[in-house]
């Protein structure tokens, strides 16, 4: 189809108008211990995106799945934090199979290679009215 043909097709106008109010968005808030999962190909991702990176299916209605056991890749403890965030803020970069994420750790005792899982219910930012779990070493859980 050429550009000019397409401009005259019956479908061109509605195809250019995105969903309005009330439509499901790709940037849904889900708990820290859950990842998105593509309902077609099963690919998982943590940081919300518009489409499945593998098959391209819209993520608006993607399922979410719990993250079970991961492995610490790197850690840091941040002393200078935003006004509504605890100081020090213990953080870990952790890999859960194909999903990799950075999350708050319950304590500053994690090291690369440690097995971790999410546990507990904490306000990660005081200004936000929601709670999420933090990473803990599997042995301590």
């Amino acid at each position: 189809m050429t550009g000019s043909d397409r401009a005259h097709s019956d479908r061109s106008l509605e195809e250019t108008i995105a969903e309005g109010s009330g439509a499901p968005g790709f940037d849904r808030d889900i708990p820290a211990d859950r990842a998105f999962a593509c309902d077609d190909c099963g690919r998982r991702w943590y940081y919300d995106r518009r489409r499945c990176p593998d098959c391209g299916r819209s993520s608006a209605d993607a399922s979410t799945v719990p993250l079970e056991t991961g492995e610490v890749v790197a850690t840091t403890t941040v002393e200078t934090t935003p006004p509504d965030v605890r100081a020090p803020n213990h953080l870990a970069l952790a890999r859960f199979d194909e999903v990799q994420l950075i999350a708050q750790a319950a304590a500053g005792d994690l090291s690369p290679g440690d097995a971790v899982r999410f546990e507990g219910s904490h306000r990660l930012r005081e200004s936000r009215d929601r709670t999420d779990p933090r990473l803990v070493a599997v042995d301590d859980a």
Binding site: D27, D29, A32, W45, Y46, Y47, D48, V73, A74, T75, T76, T77, V78, E79, T80, T81, P82, P83, D84, V85, R86, N89, L91, L93, Q100, L101, I102, A103, Q104, P112, L124, R125, R128, D132
Partner: protein, 396 residues
């Protein structure tokens, strides 16, 4: 110099100017921008009325309740009658993105078939907010799921620094050596925010910000402005156009969420923008005589030098300890002090890199600041912790 060097943009930097970078300048954002712009126009011997387009880089004016519509206010203040004007924002790479836009304006000629003079100004007044407000404003540029965890840019720096030292079995002193080098380079730079030399011990003893990074591993918050005047390079030498040539410019985005990078020590946007700019300019990393590298955190200078191909992966720390990146080394890196010591007013930083490199290429600097005989210069300005990178190659 490689034999394949090209002049891919046809643009020259006709003049440069900047204000000192300071913790608190006591001047308004507009005043800082105008002061740098006038210096650049004077340096280029260009009348304000001859400017065809103005591009203004600024990241935080609205977030810090300073002002809105900065480009239009500046055009009027400078007397740029009828010039087109806009404002560019790309977080910490705002300055380089504004420079990129200026180069593209001249290349495309979209503003006017006659357009041949462009003014690019980058300015930031980070003292307009208190430290926590600015930290908060900057932390908003991370992915929202990262934001929910309270993650800030130094958080990424701490994670990457820990991973770097761990994987390459590098000593903590290697990071401190980057800080000591860049602070040393700033001592004789009159526009630098910090002009006091520090040694490795000072850096190792400073307070922890995001372990293992300490205060001296992190760039400051700054006020300041930098500006350049760009012109089309003449088609032949008979035309009265002088100034270093923009041999290549390129930018690239990478992952937004830092954790999605398969390797925490790999930054795709840096690698991609670097490959593109070297290809466009027809030079190799070996051809570069002097470089300004985005050292928002000491570890970033090392990672970027490796991602750009200046050093093999995992070896930039040894090169730094060996003095290769010192002012008198094989590849002088951040001769003006870098973000670390010159300062990092977000909108101005990328342009201050260009100003420093133009000074180097024109031979303007005193002997103790100069990279002798520099002909090819490189700059990289990075947004966020690698969300977007802008690379430039200049040739004398």
């Amino acid at each position: 110099m490689g034999s394949n060097a090209t002049d891919s943009t046809g643009v020259r930097v006709a003049g440069v100017g900047m204000t000192p970078f300071e913790s608190d300048s006591g001047r308004s954002l507009s005043d800082l921008a105008a002061a740098a712009a006038e210096r650049a126009l004077d340096d280029a011997a260009v009348d304000p009325a001859a400017v065809d387009a103005l591009h203004v880089g600024n990241a935080l004016a609205e977030a810090l309740d300073e002002s809105a519509g900065l480009a239009n206010a500046l055009a009027a203040a400078l007397g740029l009658d009828g010039a087109s004007a806009d404002r560019i924002e790309n977080t910490s790479a705002t300055g380089a993105s504004a420079f990129h836009r200026g180069v593209e304006t001249l290349r495309s000629g979209v503003e006017s078939s006659e357009a041949d003079t462009v003014l690019v100004v980058g300015a930031e007044k980070m003292s307009a907010g208190d430290t926590r407000d600015v930290t908060e404003a900057i932390s908003r540029l991370v992915h929202r799921r990262e934001y929910a965890q309270g993650i800030t840019l130094p958080s990424f720096g701490g994670l990457a620094a820990g991973a770097y030292l761990d994987r390459y079995d590098a000593p903590r002193e290697a990071l401190a050596a980057v800080a000591a080098k860049n602070h040393g380079n700033a001592v004789d730079n009159p526009v630098a925010q910090f002009r006091k030399p520090i040694d490795v011990e000072d850096a190792l003893d400073s307070p922890v910000v995001a372990a293992p990074l300490r205060l001296y591993d992190c760039c400051p918050m700054s006020d300041g402005a930098a500006a350049v005047v760009l012109t089309r390079a003449g088609r032949d030498d008979s035309e009265d156009r002088t100034g270093p040539r923009v041999a290549g410019i390129a930018s690239a985005t990478g992952t937004h969420a830092v954790a999605e990078r398969p390797d925490p020590l790999s930054i795709d946007s840096v690698r991609t923008a670097g490959e593109r700019v070297f290809d466009r300019a027809g030079v190799r990393p070996d051809d570069v005589d002097v470089a300004c590298i985005h050292d928002a955190f000491t570890v970033l200078e090392l990672i970027e030098l490796e991602e750009l191909g200046f050093y093999e992966t995992g070896t930039a720390w040894e090169a730094t300890l060996d003095g290769d990146t010192a002012l008198d080394g094989e590849l002088p890196v951040n001769p003006g002090g870098g973000l670390k010591a010159r300062g990092h007013p977000l909108g101005a930083t990328g342009l201050s890199q260009i100003v420093e490199l133009v000074w180097q290429l024109r031979g303007d600097l005193p002997e103790n600041r100069r990279v002798d005989g520099a002909e090819t210069a490189f700059a990289i300005n990075v947004a966020g912790f690698g969300n977007n990178s802008v690379c430039t190659v200049l040739r004398a």
